[in-house]
């Protein structure tokens, strides 16, 4: 096997040194009746060229070459080339968790920078080294609030990503954390009145997403005020991190649970992504996940270490703030490099381009379909209601090697033939125009079909 650095002679010599006669002796501790005496029934050993061919073939079956208007928690932004150049260095790629600080300063310092930038962007005071993804970060953020407030129930906006809601439900079920949902209004934002009514003295926190699942920016100020008034915390989920370049961060939140995939992480069919939790300094000891801190060595030289480990499972076991151990470090490094490349000015300009493309697309679509939640500010997503079922429209778009917006019926039946469209800096005007053209055609044909029917009826 080409990964194994041993010759038959090496194996012989080692067995001899150990004092064994055969490899079988090594497995003597395993009861004989369980020992496998046949080959595993898996594909035969393949050449590297065959492996590459296999995955190229899979790639061709996987939407390679399609233009997409999908967002909904996974965003297609340009990834600067240097991200992969740098994360591919074996020193980053093949290192473990930086437990041995003296030979892990590369990883540690980069996480420290990551934490800093997440703080700068979110307006929070501390950020951790990463969580599995935005959905689990939201769930853990809620659990944090539960621990901090000593209350157990949770108020959740319906405009939170439906899969995030599902994940939260899974996490919450057995922890005795009742969830209640608050609807959105015609403006696509959480219904503030309903929110106020939902909060009880048992409410640990309110969880909203902004920009929310519809791309609409919530009035976080107002939400925070309501939550805080009732002694509940506010947990804000951010799924589209590029929005932070131009959208005021939810500074009033107590916990921000973010998905940083937009910052240089490939779509990758849904993962690995990069969750993060950011919060106020005073809550740091209830945070889940790893934290890197600055310190000094024996010569007073600046250095970085994993710190506050007493929150974690390997020290606290069943009393830990979370069971998380392995996180998303390398993905956080991608995020870190992306944030560094765009930086203070670039992130703003990038966000502006997203805004401009989306504004153009929304205005074009609204000439034919119905733009929902039109009155609220939005970032790079919007909902269009059509006369025809969006699945039908999308299957026509597929013929043009285009993937249309995400049909919402399955998540929000009340929205009917609505679909969630997304534009980023990579969406070209011509792609928008083509998609709009197909929607317009659909509307025209539905209209003419209707007119025909009316004609006949008349």
């Amino acid at each position: 096997m080409r990964y194994l650095p041993k010759s038959p002679a090496d194996r012989e010599a080692m067995l001899k040194a150990i004092g064994l006669r055969s490899v079988d002796d090594l497995f003597a501790p395993i009861p004989a009746e369980y020992r496998l005496t046949r080959d595993l029934n898996i594909p035969r050993q393949m050449a590297e060229s065959e492996i590459v061919d296999f995955f190229r073939q899979r790639s061709r079956e996987n939407g390679d070459g399609y233009t997409s208007f999908l967002g909904a928690g996974a965003y297609f932004h340009y990834r600067p080339v240097i991200i992969d150049s740098l994360i591919s260095r074996g020193e980053f790629l093949t290192a473990y968790t930086p437990y041995q600080a003296e030979i892990s300063q590369g990883t540690l310092q980069s996480i420290f920078e990551f934490q800093t930038m997440i703080c700068e962007l979110t307006g929070m005071e501390v950020a951790n080294a990463s969580m599995y993804d935005g959905s689990t970060a939201a769930a853990e953020g809620v659990m944090m609030a539960v621990r901090l407030t000593g209350r157990r129930s949770v108020v959740v906006a319906r405009s939170l990503h439906p899969q995030y809601r599902e994940v939260l439900a899974t996490y919450a079920t057995h922890q005795g954390m009742p969830l209640s949902l608050v609807n959105f209004g015609v403006d696509g934002r959480i219904n503030l009145k309903e929110l106020e009514n939902s909060i009880t003295p048992e409410t640990a926190c309110v969880l909203v997403q902004s920009p929310n699942f519809f791309g609409t920016i919530e009035d976080v100020n107002a939400i925070a005020e309501i939550a805080h008034k009732h002694g509940a915390m506010l947990v804000v989920s951010i799924a589209e991190s590029v929005s932070l370049g131009i959208v005021e961060p939810p500074r009033q939140a107590d916990v921000i649970a973010m998905e940083a995939q937009s910052f240089g992480v490939p779509l990758g069919f849904g993962g690995p992504y990069c969750g993060v939790i950011a919060t106020r300094e005073k809550y740091v000891r209830q945070m889940p996940g790893r934290l890197v801190g600055q310190t000094v060595d024996k010569q007073s030289k600046r250095g970085f270490v994993l710190t506050l480990a007493t929150r974690e499972q390997h020290i606290r076991r069943e009393k830990a703030t979370s069971n998380i151990c392995t996180n998303q470090a390398l993905v956080a490094l991608m995020v870190n490099i992306f944030m560094t490349v765009y930086g203070k000015v670039g992130l703003k300009e990038l966000a502006k381009q997203n805004l401009a493309k989306t504004a153009y697309a929304a205005s074009q679509f609204s000439k034919h379909g119905k733009l929902l939640f039109a009155t609220s500010p939005r970032f790079n997503e919007f909902v269009v209601q059509t006369s025809e079922d969006p699945y039908a429209i999308n299957s026509r778009l597929l013929g043009h090697k285009m993937v249309g917006g995400l049909p919402l019926q399955k998540f929000y039946p009340e929205l009917g033939n609505a679909a969630l469209w997304c534009c980023t800096e990579l969406t070209t005007r011509s792609a928008i125009d083509t998609a709009v053209g197909l929607v317009a055609e659909s509307e025209r044909s539905v209209r003419s079909a209707k007119e025909e029917v009316e004609e006949v009826a008349r």
Binding site: Y3, L4, K6, A17, I18, V23, L26, P29, R35, R58, E61, G63, Y66, S68, A74, E91, L93, T94, A95, Y96, P98, I103, G106, Q115, T116, V126, Y132, T170, L244, P266, G268, F269, G271, P272, R290, V292, G293, Q294, V296, K301, T307, Q313, I315, A320, I324, C325, T326, Q328, L330, V331, L333, V341, K344, K348, L350, K352, Y360, P377, V403, E425
Partner: protein
């Protein structure tokens, strides 16, 4: 330090400050294409939601970023540089073809919500990997959704709970051996089970008598790591399974140590009901400085209804699809389908090995651990003499007499050009030195390791201070962790 130059030397190495210290207004590493749609008035669009400025975000050029991270990287140790014998972590070679195929366009850029019609490639990868893992574990079904080992544990225990609940009683507690990894009890707590410790016997295995006495209808499952964290195969596994099953309990296996078993024995065959795998250990996906991982959970038939949604199925027309209609599912543990990029890498690893390669891999992993055990016996105390599988655990008992503890020896190992072993775990061995070489180490590298460890043992006798002050060859010396935790500085701030 007589031998250390055989393995490592010091060499001039670039310092590097924080990126914020290099920032200056007007530098940029980015450039956007010209806008092909009308410019917008952001204030008009966003109103009070418009952001003013981005605080202390850096402004640097591309060459500075390349240098920044290249320089930082040179302060890291890595598998690519040498042996990384962290026990329980299975730091094996991360094949580069895995990275290449994970970056093939349609695989790297597939959107999780793209229509299934144009997702057949990704679905096929998930299905093929699932089939391989089911065969390797001897289980009946699997979910790939969990993002890491601990996440797999949670998913597994959720299914355990759902299973018991379906029988009318969710039960109250999970038995966990005292040698277990911290995630095991932490997970049990998250699924709202009480944790009951199970003690190990003198062989370092589950104490059967204790298990028998502690097992009852309140126990939902035993979470067993096998081989356990001492690197010891639970020889009474049959009995253990029987004891659990007799009282309706389930046997959960923490599969972190599957590298000792793949192709040689299958947990499904020895009575395991639920288990998780760590693709980032056994299946060679890179650790990346702490993640990402992937923690598939494999189960026996009886637990299948409870799998998280969605599940990949084959439709009558032969195409693959996600099945969301699973009324008994424990729900979703993560958005989308899991760390798909890791599935790609793990499958590429399995393909590169085939049945013969996987078996040889396991054999070499166990051979290596035994070779190290043999080499270090005598120089270090071996608290359990039970046969070793893929890792061996010594203690610092002999060295402690001179005031030198496992962490000191670990730090000294750095000077010899090695990454330390795992220290202070498992908890049942005071001052543990937990060494897992994996199959990726050559005889030459291990001989150097044994030589280094023995040399340190000698140093402890002759000159303990050198060991206590180690490391001596690194850019920074031992860091003050107490100060770090006392007054945490968790982010940079302008002076």
């Amino acid at each position: 330090m007589k031998h250390m130059t055989r393995k490592a030397t010091r060499h001039v190495n670039q310092n590097e400050g924080l990126i914020f210290e290099k920032s200056s207004p007007g530098k940029a590493a980015w450039k956007l294409p010209p806008l092909d749609v009308p410019e917008v008035d952001t204030t008009a669009l966003l109103g009070s939601s418009e952001r003013e400025d981005l605080g202390n975000m850096p402004e640097v050029s591309e060459i500075e970023i390349i240098r920044h991270f290249t320089r930082l990287s040179t302060w890291n140790y890595a598998i690519d540089l040498g042996m990384y014998p962290l026990g329980s972590c299975t730091m094996k070679y991360n094949p580069r073809v895995n990275e290449a195929v994970a970056r093939v366009e349609g695989i790297a850029n597939g959107h999780p919500y793209q229509p299934e019609k144009i997702s057949q490639g990704a679905l096929r990868i998930m299905q093929t990997l699932s089939e391989c893992l089911i065969e390797i574990t001897g289980m009946d079904a699997i979910t790939l959704q969990p993002a890491a080992g601990a996440h797999g544990e949670m998913t597994g225990l959720l299914m355990v709970r759902a299973y018991h609940q379906s029988k009318g009683n969710a039960r109250k507690k999970i038995l966990i051996p005292d040698s277990a990894h911290g995630t095991n009890p932490a997970t049990a707590a998250m699924v709202n089970y009480a944790v009951e410790n199970l003690k190990s016997d003198s062989r370092g295995m589950v104490d059967i008598a204790s298990l028998e006495s502690q097992m009852n209808e309140d126990v939902a499952a035993l979470m067993l790591t096998n081989p356990n964290t001492l690197g010891v195969f639970e020889q009474d596994i049959h009995k253990i399974a029987d004891i659990l099953h007799a009282k309706g309990g389930l046997l959960y296996m923490d599969g972190a140590n599957m590298n000792a078993l793949v192709g040689k024995v299958r947990p499904g065959d020895f009575g395991v009901d639920v288990m998780h795998l760590n693709l980032h250990k056994t299946f060679s996906t890179p650790h990346g400085g702490g993640g990402p991982g992937s923690g598939p959970v494999a189960i026996k038939k009886a637990l299948e209804p409870f799998l998280p949604t969605p599940v990949v199925i084959t439709k009558p027309d032969g195409t693959l699809s996600f099945d969301y209609n699973r009324p008994h599912s424990v729900g979703r543990v993560r958005a989308f389908y899991g760390n798909f990029g890791m599935f790609v890498r793990a499958l590429a690893y399995i393909q590169a090995n085939g049945p013969d390669g996987l078996r040889q891999t396991t054999e070499d992993a166990v051979l290596n651990a035994n070779y190290i055990r043999k080499g270090l016996e005598g120089a270090f105390d071996l608290p359990y003499s039970t046969p070793t599988m893929h890792e061996v655990v010594f203690s610092d008992k002999l060295q402690a007499k001179k005031g030198v503890r496992t962490m000191d020896i670990a730090k000294r190992l750095i000077d010899y050009g090695f990454h330390p072993y795992t220290t202070a775990f498992p908890l049942i061995v005071p001052g543990a030195l937990m060494i897992e070489p994996t199959e990726s180490e050559s005889k030459e590298e291990m001989d150097l390791f044994v030589e280094a460890m023995k040399s340190i043992a000698e140093e402890v006798e002759e000159d303990p201070q050198t060991v206590l002050d180690a490391p001596h060859t690194t850019r920074v010396s031992r860091l003050d962790e107490t100060a770090a935790a006392r007054k945490p500085i968790l982010r940079w701030k302008p002076a």
